[in-house]
């Protein structure tokens, strides 16, 4: 019964608004654009953080990547003949990290050696990645064929390799090639699997894997290639001793990632004379995206607020005019016995219906704009249910806030004067 009455009042409001279709439509426009821009704005921010999340997902949100880098001093000295540069992460670093931090589940070691590979008639420069089976746990990559590295491979220091999909294609390796032997540098490896790889950058973080990777057990890498690499470039010989080129540290929970990263930094600073390492925290990308989203929301949010304010004032203006225009009607209703609050209610319902209708059209617009942004500007956008609900809330509030004054004014019209009003 009560609900029926509300529905009836809303319907009466709609009927009244439909008497002046053009005016109603024009009055709604402010809210239409305001709400449209709110929805669009939120969708762009949401899209940006979703994209960041997807990128981070490829590295692992609970992972910290530590890479060895050649310090600048080292770089300048390495031109000297027969000098051997020693830098980067050590086996001890790894043990220390695993033992010191209770929030660290594991630190996966990575050795990187560039070697050329040959399979049948095809050659390819590879990046040999010596690592443990855990690497495949931390970076979730889809297997195309065969299997990943296993514990048993590590134990046996097996001469087996997992190629990337890209590398396999370049070497003309297929599913049927599994079990065949590929020559990498001077050694032979049995191909046991083919895995998808990412490569490139995620934000400002280098992906831990590359298209041309070939994964072998780290024990095999140590045994076959040692820690010293020698490179011959334009007559000079460069020798480097690097124990570990990379470490992927898995933290138990997202919330501990940043504190662990800080701790690792302090620890490495203590044990390394030079800064020959770099710590990358994928989670920072998310924080960055969130910061961007916030800035974006504040800037565009204020613009949206202004247009909503303008829209609201427009509605108020028209409603005030409508109250004046309908003074006589108000007088008649009051004479018949309508209470002040019923007159207030009548006008308020009309304003809220008006602003809500504007809001609904605005949501339509707010779905259209992100769609066009994605098509024409290539920016990712996501319209969430939350932003739609928020917009409906905003429109209803605008109706109430800006409708209240005209409605109260309507209710305070003196019936006698109103009845004489022409």
């Amino acid at each position: 019964m009560r609900r029926l009455k509300v529905a009836r009042n809303i319907w009466l409001g709609i009927e009244n608004l439909l008497l002046h279709k053009l005016r109603t439509f024009l009055t709604m426009l402010g809210v239409v654009f305001g709400v449209g821009s709110v929805v669009a704005m939120l969708s762009v921010g949401e899209g940006a953080s979703k994209e960041a999340l997807q990128q981070i997902d490829k590295i692992g949100i609970r992972n910290i990547i530590i890479s060895s880098i050649k310090s600048v001093e080292e770089e300048s000295q390495s031109t000297t003949r027969s000098y051997m540069s020693i830098y980067g992460l050590t086996y001890d670093d790894r043990l220390r990290i695993e033992e010191t931090f209770s929030h660290v589940l594991q630190a996966v070691p990575v050795k990187l050696i560039r070697k050329s590979a040959r399979l049948a008639e095809r050659n390819l420069e590879l990046r040999v990645v010596g690592t443990t089976p855990s690497w495949f746990e931390l970076l979730k990559r889809e297997m195309v064929a065969g299997r990943e590295l296993l514990e048993i491979d590590s134990k046996n220091r097996s001469g087996i390799v997992v190629l990337t999909e890209f590398g396999a294609r370049r070497l003309l390796a297929t599913e049927n090639t599994i079990g065949q032997r590929v020559r990498v540098g001077g050694s032979y490896y049995e191909i046991v699997g083919i895995v998808k790889s990412e490569g490139g950058m995620a934000g400002n973080i280098q992906m831990p894997d590359e298209q041309i990777d070939a994964y072998i057990p780290i024990e095999a890498a140590k045994e076959r290639y040692g820690d010293i690499t020698t490179r011959y470039t334009s007559g000079s010989r460069e020798r480097e001793l690097v124990e570990l080129h990379q470490m992927i540290v898995e933290v138990d929970h997202m919330d501990n990632v940043e504190s662990v990263a800080k701790g690792i930094e302090v620890m490495l600073k203590r044990f390394h004379k030079k800064v020959d390492y770099r710590i990358s925290v994928p989670l920072a990308l998310l924080r960055q995206a969130e910061a961007t989203k916030r800035t974006f929301n504040v800037v565009l949010g204020s613009i949206a607020c202004i247009s909503l304010l303008v829209g609201g004032i427009g509605i108020m203006n028209i409603m005030l005019a409508s109250v004046t225009e309908r003074t006589r009607e108000i007088g008649i209703r009051r004479a018949i016995g309508a209470k002040r609050r019923q007159i207030t209610g009548q006008f308020l319902v009309e304003t809220v219906v008006l602003s809500t209708a504007g809001g609904l059209i605005g949501i339509g617009l707010g779905l259209l704009i992100p769609w066009m942004i994605t098509i024409f500007a290539g920016m990712p956008t996501v319209v969430t249910i939350k932003s739609v609900i928020l917009s409906v809330g905003i429109s209803i509030s605008i109706g109430i806030v800006f409708g209240l004054y005209p409605a109260v004014r309507a209710a305070n019209v003196d019936p006698i004067i109103a009845l004489r009003h022409e």
Binding site: N16, I332, R334, I336, G337, R340, I416
Partner: protein, 237 residues
């Protein structure tokens, strides 16, 4: 206390004004639209308030109709002391006990005849079907059942006034208040409206009608003559 000796005997006391003033402050000057009026209107009568322009007829009717407030004095309507009531309570009185008929009809132009008649029922909280049935019944009573779907603009003056009467009857009030109900109508049409009012009075409605034409006032069975905000005489058939 003056002029209320006619009341008491015929019918129960419905409406009573005691020493009522209505004073408008116009800058320095005071306009006494009502200058100390005491009168009782007994139930069941057909009253005419008559007097020259500016004598305070409309002011009196507005106070009787609870649309306006007295400056001083006491107004009692069906045992309610209106001068002491708040706006909501006074609105409720209008809604339940009074029906208005105006010179300029005062129909809401964007509503159909039916919706106009249903208006008091809407505020009384009737549901749509009951209201519609009542509107049809009332339209039939004033001879306008064919016009329920029309808008006021599509009707003649006499028809509009009939709609207004139907609307005034919707809440089944004991009292009908009419301010020059025939003022905007030609005399033949006006006569029909007056006839209708007379019928309603015969069916038991108390009617108080303002007019400045003595011909029209003669149709009523009680006449209250006003001048300069005061009651001159009260005539009775």
């Amino acid at each position: 206390m003056g002029v209320n000796e006619q009341s008491g005997t015929n019918g129960d006391l419905l409406i009573e004004l005691e020493d009522v003033y209505k004073i408008y402050q116009m800058g320095q000057e005071q306009v006494k639209a009502l200058a100390g009026v005491s009168v009782s209107f007994a139930a069941g009568s057909f009253w005419a308030i008559i007097g020259p322009s500016g004598s305070g007829k409309s002011t009196m009717l507005n106070i009787l109709g609870c649309l306006d407030r007295v400056t001083s004095g006491r107004y009692t309507l069906e045992n309610n002391d209106v001068s002491m009531m708040n706006d909501d309570a006074v609105s409720e009185l209008r809604l339940r006990h009074l029906g208005f008929i105006f010179q300029s009809f005062n129909l809401i132009p964007q509503l159909t005849v039916q919706r106009n008649i249903e208006l008091p029922l809407y505020y009384l909280g009737w549901d749509a079907e009951e209201s519609a049935a009542r509107a049809v019944e009332l339209a039939r009573r004033v001879g306008l059942e064919e016009r329920l779907g029309h808008r006021p603009m599509e009707l003649s003056g006499g028809q509009m006034q009939r709609v207004a009467i139907a609307r005034a009857l919707a809440n089944d009030p004991r009292i009908l208040l009419a301010d020059e109900p025939t003022g905007n109508l030609d005399s033949a049409t006006g006569q029909q409206i007056l006839e209708l009012l007379r019928e309603l009075n015969e069916q038991g409605k108390t009617i108080i009608m303002v007019t400045h034409e003595s011909d029209i006032a003669r149709l009523a069975n009680k006449r209250l003559h006003m001048r300069d905000g005061l009651i001159e005489t009260v005539e009775e058939d």
